[in-house]
Symmetry: C2
Subunit: 456 residues, 2 copies
Amino acid sequence: MATLGDPCGYALHCDEYELTMSQSFLANGQTGTAAFEMSVRTLPVDRGYLIAAGLATAAEYLRGLRFDETQLRWLASSGVYSPAFLEHLRGLRFSGDLDGIPEGTPVGACTPLLRVTAPRIEATIVESALLAVVNHQTLIATKAARIVDAARGRPVWDFSLRRVHGPDAAVGVARAAYIAGCAGTATVVAGQRLGIPTTGTMAHHYVIAFGPDGEERAFAQFLRDWPDRAVLLVDTWDTVHGTERAIAAARATGVPLTGVRLDSGDLAGLARAVRVRLDAAGMQHTRIVASNELDEHRIAELLADGAPIDAFGVGTMLGTSADAPALGGVFKLVAQEETPGGPLQPVMKFSSGKRTDPGVHQVFRRTQGDIVGLVDEELPGRRLLMPVIRGGEAVGQEEALDQLRRRCLEERAALPEAVRRLRDPQPWTVRRSPGLEALRRNLGGADAELAGGTAA
Amino acid sequence: MATLGDPCGYALHCDEYELTMSQSFLANGQTGTAAFEMSVRTLPVDRGYLIAAGLATAAEYLRGLRFDETQLRWLASSGVYSPAFLEHLRGLRFSGDLDGIPEGTPVGACTPLLRVTAPRIEATIVESALLAVVNHQTLIATKAARIVDAARGRPVWDFSLRRVHGPDAAVGVARAAYIAGCAGTATVVAGQRLGIPTTGTMAHHYVIAFGPDGEERAFAQFLRDWPDRAVLLVDTWDTVHGTERAIAAARATGVPLTGVRLDSGDLAGLARAVRVRLDAAGMQHTRIVASNELDEHRIAELLADGAPIDAFGVGTMLGTSADAPALGGVFKLVAQEETPGGPLQPVMKFSSGKRTDPGVHQVFRRTQGDIVGLVDEELPGRRLLMPVIRGGEAVGQEEALDQLRRRCLEERAALPEAVRRLRDPQPWTVRRSPGLEALRRNLGGADAELAGGTAA
């Protein structure tokens, strides 16, 4: 399970043209194998790389794909579709192949993140749901990686549920953020469904529930009720006074103060003032957690300013990737059978500014950049695209989230510093192989450069 | 049904602190009634108003709220929660009240969009899911209203599924976009679940499936297969040649050409060239549909430039509200019982930059702006907050989406031009009533202004 509560429920999460084109393909016998690849043409602002994420969710969706009777009845009632097509949908399962770059891997622009090779109708119907999954999780993992980097080893927690694009988006956000190195999430369902570590502190209304003079009583109560996990929110009335009351409550109850959270005001100045008071009270082990409209730049500033903050809760900016809130991943036909059962023939489109790279690709990773080549080329470098589904069945064991997270931290650490810069980074270099360049020339489209590199 | 496929499945779409605080409230008998209101402190960039949306989805969530055995078992297995609290959760249903501003209504900053008045634990647990729903749909409805306005009567279709924040977000996007005046969506499941009109054209890969010389055959095939709804995508190879082939295919098949879609290049120039060819072919009724990274500014430019475009398909910018991708709505305690069964007493918090307006509010609409007053004040103006749920039960009939859409178009038309401007609009004026100002002074917090207006 990789986020979709009920993947069988996602068959109609498609664009209408995927159904109308499919009915036309069926009627005309255009049911041979086609290969589609997903890639992102340009890196979002200030991104030198992307973190690939969402592949396991995509695989879960493909393997669960089926149209149930309720959906088929509704399609029939619309009066749009033919009985033969609806019958085809009733029996439709994903019978093809999925290849993808393992989640957590940093990648550049114009790089195939995944490939679906399947009967044309299957590949057509899954386009939009696959893109929505992988665009979203890759977007958030990329943002989270930047925030985690800025925190320089301090834990970053996902606090974004209330600001994400509908409650369901929170699960994908928590998953992507964890893969990218976040410590966990406040979103409970991500703990239940995915086993991601969850956390929580306290809201202002808890303190207010004890009345205008009740802050110390609120703190004492919460410490007694949650002796192992009470992080007290100290800024409901005044941060420094709140800290003094938290210290007093810890002394009165005899419960060690795990942490305090600051959620407003001048976080650096307040953190220093709070640290002084905690240390003076002998509470050197009490952690200071900061939240409130944080992102990678704000965190970097706070730490550059010497703010003694031990952990960060990040909401809106993480959960929506607010400075770059959409990833423009596309899913493009790269090869198709010309005769039934024949070999896949490379294809490309020529729309202005949207030319595609023809053929079935492999990505070869080298120390200084990637080469996008043809799958049958023998090139130096580690091959990034790996089989995930073959003939509708999962290949091997699904990797644990912790494994993806480790990969992400390790491979990110290996990137050049200039690629990881938070502002104006150098894009991770991606070049085409000589074989791919030759194929583009043969098909008449050799005049475009890949982002981040010149043609090899 | 207002978007959540299975609202009962959303009990754990909460932040962990909502559960830990609730267990503490239960243990300490703090189970009296509390009132929380949701509002947005500041309008996003370039917005003079928001379009309230998501209320019916929020009500659906509240009325379906329950913890099922799987969820309770998982909570128990975490070892965090007490048996008494888990037993409380097993019986928990939403038994309180919901009031809200009808969906489709334009509102300003610092305006209560909804209020939950309920036993404290119920009101605590629902915070984040409610916010995620209403923040998201209000965000998207607001963006969609701007795009629809820019299109000056031409239909705008939601094409955003592939770029939204996970597949589920697409349903809320389609709903909010429709309320705000979009003609419909390409997302099929929004048609199934919500009855929103759906549409579709054709993808580049349909054309490529017919081979490099197959564009005219592709068009003829699609016209024969979909004689009533074929909008042909003409830019796979070259837009003008593609249009000539679409004309030829329509003549060859005898099927009238419903429309053509342009998805790349200089849309204004190409639309003019395409219009000339269509008109010369006697196809004055063939519509030109444009798509490709459109938003309200681009659409306004195209129309100012005289581009003969008849309809717009808008994806990324609509589906993520890309220039302002998050709404900072908060859910704040405004009043609580001090004695069991006693009257609700107003409360406020004082956190730096985050002071709240105390008390239970009503919003009074007047021609030139809104007054936020106390619910028992008698003030001139139309009362905007209406009962939605009373004692856990729906009040009256849920309004049809078309009714919300009509309201949105009518009430938007009544706003001053300066408030609707696409750039640097004047914020819709919101003032506090004398009663609310007096209450703030009494509680010690009279020094803040509401956005968009001075205190009355």
